[in-house]
Assembly symmetry: C2
Homo-oligomer: 148 residues x 2
């Protein structure tokens, strides 16, 4: 469950010397909603969704906004097994991993880092200077299991 609020996003825009314009507010609102539902989305999804209430918004602006929000650290990009890229709102702290339902695209964040000592051991054995790691777990959520 994301705790992202519209005010946080607007504040971040202002803090960065950017304007919290009407298209940006509209898109931020949509993203906050999706965040509350742990729902993923692509930039294209965002554009389509915002179209309903703000049909004048251009596709490019949706892409640009997602990019900015990712730079702000509000969004995280997830690469699916089929190669598509989607985003979701980061709710946990700094370091976390994703548990993604392959049926409904809901994302649960695993707040604790899984086995950090295992990564340290790999670094030790390989001689690599580890700068980061990414863990993606796929499966079906309880709801979708029940619905099958």
């Amino acid at each position: 469950m994301s705790t992202l609020t519209l005010d946080q996003v607007i504040g971040a825009f202002e803090a960065a010397g950017m304007r919290a314009t009407r298209p940006r507010r509209a898109m931020a609102a949509q993203i906050v909603t999706w965040g509350a539902a742990d729902q993923e989305f692509s930039s294209e999804d965002l554009w389509h969704a915002v179209q309903e209430q703000a049909p004048w918004v251009g596709r490019a602006t949706a892409y640009r906004t997602v990019q900015i929000l990712q730079d702000f650290g509000f969004l995280d990009r997830v690469t699916f097994a089929d190669g598509t890229e989607r985003y979701h709102v980061i709710s946990a702290g700094e370091h976390h991993h994703h548990l993604t339902c392959e049926t409904c695209h809901r994302v649960v964040e695993v707040e604790a880092c899984i086995a950090p000592e295992a990564f340290a051991a790999v670094a030790q054995a390989s001689g690599f200077a580890i700068s980061g790691h990414r863990v993606e777990i796929f499966g079906r959520c309880p709801t979708c299991q029940a619905a099958s």
Copy 2:
């Protein structure tokens, strides 16, 4: 260090009722070479490399061959932080993870699954039916550290 040989690839084509044609042999040879060096490549890279010795080979054939080799289980797709897709020859067994040098793109496979019990614990806690997971570790290899 990959143990993939040209014969293995050609054998797989024949076993699948496909023809080990000239373009396919040329590309397989290149991939075997890259595999021996733990080197990653994109489909486009493959096309360019093969061009030197077989300039008549079409771009589409390179893409098609990579796809087939991936289906055969010889190649694994890795998504980089910058979103690009690359492939590398699988040397370890069924389940493994990647340790990728961000500087030289060399890949080391981590043969043992990292902390499988941690994934089981996550499944337990979340109620998800886990179907798979992917772990990517990024860093700098010893050679590139020394070269800096």
